[in-house]
């Protein structure tokens, strides 16, 4: 017996310091998983005490144990089916009365319970005195006062847990439900007669639940007995009887009784404090929730969020990037070396893979700061205030007050990131709004898209740059809101909604440990779950882009160009002391040396670091170095120029080959087929392929698209180009492309985050599919419509903006169907 592990469940209402207790008990041994089938997090950890291992599961904080929310269902299921040895009920000593509401429900589940009166420091502060022995006797449970924040009472709790696990005594108290008792007895009798439930569940608890009309319990009964319907109908009749006789819905009666009981205990064993706990918070709220100041403060908080995470985060990436770059350099060094224009497959694959993963890892500083700030907002108690201020606006669009933070993270005016935005949707209690929020976040301003917009605006809307930037920054919200409304009216129509009723907890100073802990946890989740899949997909993409590759004929063409470039170079340095050193293989060695030097130089800052770098490279190969840094040596300078020329030609060749390879590849061919459709959006096949290359091949989206849309530098007249049959790329094209990119399907990382948050592949696919459809429809409409009406890009922009604004206002005014009768 003594070597068996003890399983303990931690249960309590929100804001009782339950996580502090959990952390104090389990320390660093925690890990997070998911309860099967739902997206609720399961926190567990363990500790050793008196030679025994105790596993602690931190159940989600809930106010009650009904079956209306997944958190409550999961808590009940755990207690009923995982059969922990005992439950530690964490309560707020400064307001024990309200915590008891949950305590009674736990007691009714007939499991040994330890009542933990936490936050005793707070209770003391307001002058609350509790007769713990009295309560212990009255309820028949061990009572342990603690102030876990200050580390007090921990040992007593360990002892109480150990004792309760040994003793296994079930509580003595039972609430007398007065006039409902005969009804409960009837149900219990039926249960005993017609089902086997009493063998598995506490009969009285089942009876109470059935009188409450609890859905999950009804399911349990159904699962247990073939004659369940008979029993359930009986229960329904009883409920109806009760209500007509006593004029109160049974579930409300039961809740009422619990409060009366709690009241009774308070009268007997608790001396109330001088003042309510929340007065300081209330005073703060007078400012924070003020008509005028409230929204201003909200904007301020959001601004700080952006500033610290995105702006400062990017600064930090300037320091972390070199680390990632080193990994890449390492990859470059260990894979087979490239030839002048030949790149070994393995090398290409490895570098591609490293680049894809680095791209995501590079985000980590930003994500870490973001997650940390979110944890601060959560812990401090400000989040409910955000929801309080914004709820009315958001609920008009089928969203929820708690959608505020996720949307801010996704990018409202400035660029954000959809991944933390989607992950922040965890807290939205209402299923329908939660899904709606998750589905529209990818449409908001993604930071990574900014360079693309800027490029197009600089070319096509240069004269109206400010307006164009304003347009692109705000249009995403004007599209997201109506889309959300439409989604909630159609696809999401039948999803569960939840009451808004929400507690505004006292403000509370977040702990550094808590914040850092959660930030680290979430970053780790990101790496574990998202980066891994993206890496896998990167490999697939590589294959699609590599094959079938350059055919033999073309290879000959490129080889010829290569030979000429090399020959030209060699002739240019003939007669110089370098001519011998750069023959044959040495030339390639020089090229790689030059490349390495350039890469290293890009990351070197400051004169001292620079001279160290130079010294290193000079020592490695003095001859090569002379060419790299010729100084005043005229001959060396000549060689330098010739070499740079050669290097440039190599780059050009590599680029050309890469482009041709992509055009030929499976992925590239894919760009040609949709042309009949995309044509209406102004995308001919070259644009499609460019889009593919730009996004899939990470060939600078900026460059590829720029090259495609920019008027030829060589001064080829527009008429001449049109005569050649090429449609001029106009500002209308640019606008269409920008809009398409706004609505663009979410990046893979976001899609994975959607899958994690919704727990469903179906929704992930939908979240990828509908923006595609919408994007294409909008692109086609804007381009074809704009062309038909002969609008310029700017005019179309204004027209579209007006439409979007009108749609937003219109959908916002739609009346919502009455939720409650």
């Amino acid at each position: 017996m003594t070597n068996k592990k003890i399983l303990v469940a931690l249960a309590g209402q929100p804001n009782c310091g339950k996580s502090t207790v959990f952390n104090a008990l389990t320390g660093a041994s925690q890990h997070v998983a998911n309860y099967p089938g739902v997206t609720v997090e399961k926190m567990s950890g363990s500790y050793r005490y008196n030679g025994r291992t105790v596993e602690v599961v931190d159940l989600p904080g809930t106010y009650s144990l009904t079956s209306y929310s997944p958190e409550e269902r999961v808590s009940r299921d755990f207690i009923l089916h995982e059969k922990p040895s005992l439950v530690v009920n964490v309560t707020d000593a400064s307001n024990l009365k309200r915590s008891l509401y949950l305590t009674f429900q736990l007691l009714e589940m007939e499991i040994p319970l330890v009542l933990n009166l936490n936050m005793t420091d707070m209770a003391e502060q307001v002058g609350v005195v509790i007769d713990t022995e009295g309560i212990a006797e009255h309820l028949g449970v061990a009572v342990v006062p603690t102030s876990m924040k200050n580390g007090q009472g921990k040992k007593a709790l360990f002892n109480a847990v150990a004792a309760a696990a040994e003793g296994g005594r079930k509580a003595a108290v039972r609430i007398d439900y007065g006039v409902m008792e005969p009804f409960l007895r009837d149900i219990e009798k039926r249960l005993a007669d017609e089902t086997t439930m009493p063998a598995f569940y506490p009969a009285r608890w089942v009876a109470i639940k059935l009188m409450e009309g609890d859905g999950e319990t009804r399911n349990l009964v159904r699962a247990d007995s073939p004659r369940a319907e008979h029993l359930l109908r009986f229960t329904e009749r009883l409920r109806g009887d009760f209500e007509s006789r006593f004029n109160e819905a049974p579930e409300l009666f039961i809740a009422h009784r619990r409060y009366r009981e709690a009241d009774d205990i308070e009268r007997r064993y608790i001396t109330p404090g001088r003042q309510a706990v929340g007065t300081l918070s209330d005073r703060i709220d007078r400012v924070v929730c003020h008509r005028l100041l409230g929204p201003i403060i909200l904007v301020g908080v959001i601004w700080i969020l952006y500033y610290l995470s995105i702006v400062q985060g990017y600064h930090i990436t300037n320091y972390t990037w070199p680390l990632l770059a080193k990994i890449r350099s390492l990859a470059e060094a260990v894979t087979p070396q490239p030839g002048f224009i030949e790149i070994p497959m393995l090398r290409a694959l490895v570098l591609w893979f490293v680049d894809s993963v680095n791209a995501l890892l590079n985000y980590i500083p930003i994500l870490f700061i973001l997650f940390g700030l979110i944890a601060i907002l959560e812990d401090s108690g400000y989040m409910p205030r955000m929801a309080f201020i914004m709820d009315r606006f958001f609920s008009r669009y089928g969203l929820h007050g708690q959608s505020t933070l996720p949307m801010v993270l996704g990018g409202i005016y400035v660029g954000g990131c959809a991944v933390p935005g989607v992950m922040a949707c965890k807290g939205i209690p209402d299923e329908r709004s939660r899904l709606a929020t998750i589905l529209i976040i990818p449409m908001l301003n993604c930071l990574a898209k900014v360079p693309l917009y800027v490029l197009l605006i600089n070319i096509y809307f240069a004269a109206h740059k400010a307006w164009a930037m304003f347009f692109i920054s705000t249009i995403s919200l004007l599209i997201a809101l109506p889309v959300s409304r439409i989604l909630t009216l159609t696809i999401l129509k039948d999803k569960e909604t939840a009451p808004f009723v929400m507690e505004m907890p006292p403000y509370h100073l977040p702990t550094m440990r808590g914040v850092l802990g959660r930030a680290t946890e979430r970053v780790w989740l990101f790496i574990r779950k998202i980066t891994t899949i993206v890496a896998a997909v990167a490999v697939v993409l590589f294959v699609l882009l590599q094959f079938p590759g350059i055919n033999d004929e073309r290879q000959v063409y490129y080889d010829a160009k290569k030979d000429k470039a090399i020959a030209d170079f060699l002739s240019q340095i003939e007669g110089t002391p370098f001519a011998d050193d750069l023959q044959g293989e040495n030339l390639m060695a020089m090229i790689l040396y030059w490349k390495e030097y350039k890469n290293a130089r890009m990351l070197t800052k400051g004169p001292e670091a620079m001279s160290t770098l130079n010294a290193t490279y000079k020592a490695r190969n003095p001859v090569f170095f002379r060419i790299v840094q010729p100084g005043k040596d005229k001959v060396a300078k000549q060689a330098n120029r010739a070499f740079k020329n050669l290097y440039r030609k190599r780059q050009d060749l590599l680029r050309e080959i890469r482009k041709e390879r992509i055009d030929n590849s499976f992925l590239g061919r894919l760009g040609r087929w949709p042309e009949p459709v995309t044509r209406f959006a102004g995308f001919n096949w070259r644009v499609n392929v460019a889009l593919l290359s730009a996004f899939a091949a990470k060939e600078s989206s900026v460059a590829t698209l720029g090259a495609l849309y920019e008027p030829e530098e060589e001064g080829e007249a527009l008429e001449a180009r049109m005569a050649r049959g090429e449609a001029g790329f106009t500002s209308l094209h640019a606008l269409t492309l920008m809009l398409f990119m706004v609505l663009y399907p979410p990046c893979l990382a976001t899609s994975i985050a959607v899958k994690l948050q919704t727990g469903s592949v179906k929704w992930m696919l939908f979240s990828m599919a509908y923006p595609m459809a919408l994007g294409l429809v909008v692109a086609v409409a804007v381009f074809s419509g704009g062309s038909a009406l002969g609008l310029t890009g700017l005019q179309a922009m204004i027209a579209f903006y007006g439409l979007a604004l009108a749609l937003t206002v219109a959908t916002g005014l739609l009346k919502e169907k009455e939720r409650y009768s």
Binding site: V311, Y314, T317, N318, W321, L324, A325, L351, N358, A359, L360, N362, Y363, G415, C446, L447, A448, K449, V450, P451, V454, L455, A538, L541, R601, M602, K605, P607, P630, G631, R648, D652, L667, L670, W673, P674, E675, P676, N688, L692, F695, A696, K698, E699, S700, V702, A703, L705, G706, A707, Y744, P745, P746, C747, L748, A749, S751, M772, G775, L776
Partner: protein, 104 residues
């Protein structure tokens, strides 16, 4: 029917790509012959071709305007006096380099 199907397929694949996490990179070097070369890039390996480059004097007046070429390079004649080079790929992706930090 086929074009629509392939349009969907096309976009499905295009979307299966990680967002480019651009940390912009840019470094400039004095070539010793009165010209300066700037090289640019992004942390995910994307080239910076097409990104707008500006050279400004101490007062912020624009002296030279151009773009990174196809090789992510931007060459310009070194101005007299103090100057700054700005790599501008949009908000959050801007790098400013002080002329006096540009070494050989």
């Amino acid at each position: 029917m086929k074009p629509i199907v392939s349009a969907i397929l096309f976009m499905a694949i295009v979307c299966a790509v990680p967002a480019a996490a651009h940390t912009p990179l840019c470094a400039c070097y004095n070539n010793g012959d009165d010209t300066v070369t700037c090289e640019g890039g992004f942390s995910d390996g994307s080239s910076a071709a097409g990104v707008q480059m500006r050279v400004e004097d101490a007062s912020g007046k624009m002296l030279i305007k151009g773009k990174m070429d196809a090789n992510s390079e931007f060459n310009f004649k070194k101005p007299d006096g103090t100057y700054r080079v700005i790599f501008d790929a949009g908000e959050g992706h801007v790098i400013e380099i002080d002329g006096k930090d540009i070494l050989e």
